[in-house]
Symmetry: C2
Subunit: 247 residues, 2 copies
DNA sequence: CTCAAATGTTTCACCACATGAAACATGGTT
DNA sequence: AACCATGTTTCATGTGGTGAAACATTTGAG
């Protein structure tokens, strides 16, 4: 009890439970209790509450819990007016048509990144990217961009984490970030996903903050190191235009 | 304290707060406190918790709260495989093309209904229906269908509510429901929305339960009582096919 | 068919923790 | 400056959330 809590524990736990459903769309009581390390009966009471408010429902067949209609209703009321995923979609489609590869848009969320939008390549062999996916911030071109261009305070916090050093291989990491800032883009070849390569750039909004990372990715067979570097200027220009569109 | 609460009050309150954002996408602290009748400081603590978990964010400019990225992330993990709004969209588009008017899909949620899907008429003068809208269950063709074909227990609960009698005009209401069940469809002319008329039918799923209500609506200038009755058989046939598609 | 193991549900005594009043801080308006 | 509205922090109080344990129910194994 060193520093005061100005938060409500029961609510924190309930929200943690909800987030469990991003890993598995159907969960049982004991399963949830195991995931967040609480007693069955505590979870049961929280689930009853969530169910009563229709944030979760019980599947009639399996007796397990799923996300409920209120989550869906809330999501329709997300203010879309300034949502990059909506505003930038047309520009991303143009970029996809020009380069012929899958285009993705990422936000940093804590120590992860989230793919908030994606338009798929229409070639036969293509990378298929899932919107809403939570990915590690330690590997991949987009990750390096998001870290390299993060606000100094945020970056400091990430790099000072004791776990971080282990996750990013080699002491050259800080040097890499410096290079990325100088060049303005990052590349990755089979870093997170075997067989896949990508190039990513930051999207800087009107206020000069890095609002997101934009990436083009595909099979290594088509995306050689050389090709990635050729794509970079196209991405940089596209990102510049996109940056003007978002607040 | 007559009957035991097996729910968690703090969580209930937090969820109620979240649902406030369906009425207004940007809310201040005092505003929220007023809406759910709690003390400022209580709401403040709950908001801090919601903010820490990124279920809400504070708008940099206005200092007010908005829904956060976790709500968005959760929504992408809603199991879409058996979501009527997704499964029935193509069929709804075909119906729109055939009749030329706006087609909507509704679910009952407690004592309201939710528009979970809509495809707009492409005529110059048209009804524009917003997906995610929460509407009263007391008026409108879809409402009458949802009530008339609700499970007996649910219907009983609705009709026995003392408030209900006042909201539905006239004692002919129960009789109306009986008519609707016999005919298999309901109509409404300027009942909820001035200048608008609609015809609605139930969608019965494979298990024989009423899964949703399907409606066609437009301006009264085009949808006379006669036209609505002509549309009804088309709707009934479309709803029958749709019912086979959902669990 | 019986017993055991796993999952979900309810009960209960304890005291941590959520609560709301009040004081404090801040910024905008007259 | 004085005021009002909004957000933030402090604090005493006792309610209400907690987890152990008992109970209920289903599933599977032997």
């Amino acid at each position: 009890m060193e520093d005061r809590k100005l938060t409500v524990r029961a609510v924190e736990r309930a929200l943690d439970i909800l987030m469990c459903f991003t890993q598995n769309s159907e969960l049982g009581l004991t399963e949830i209790a195991g995931m967040i390390g609480l007693h069955k009966s505590t979870v049961h009471r929280l689930m009853t509450t969530l169910e009563e408010k229709a944030f979760v429902v019980r599947d009639a067949a399996t007796e397990k819990y799923r996300l409920g209609i209120k989550v869906w209703e809330l999501s329709t009321h997300l203010s879309q007016s300034d949502d990059p995923a909506v505003l930038l979609l047309p520009a991303m489609e143009r970029l996809r048509d020009r380069l012929g590869e899958t285009v993705s848009l990422y936000l940093r969320d804590g120590k992860d990144r989230l793919r908030i939008q994606a338009v798929q390549s229409n070639q036969a062999i293509r990378r298929v990217a899932q919107v809403g996916a939570r990915l590690p911030l330690t590997v991949g071109a987009s990750s390096k961009v998001l870290v390299a261009f993060a606000a100094p305070a945020d970056q400091e916090e990430l790099l000072s984490d004791p776990d971080w050093a282990e996750l990013v291989k080699g002491g050259s990491y800080v040097r890499q970030l410096q290079d990325i800032r100088e060049r303005g883009y990052a590349t990755s070849i089979e870093e997170r996903e075997p067989g896949a390569a990508a190039v990513a750039v930051p999207i800087v909004n009107r206020n000069g903050n890095v609002a997101a990372a934009l990436s083009v990715s595909g099979p290594v067979s088509r995306l050689s190191s050389e090709t990635l570097n050729e794509f970079a200027p196209v991405l940089i220009e596209a990102a510049r235009e996109m940056g003007l569109m978002i607040p």
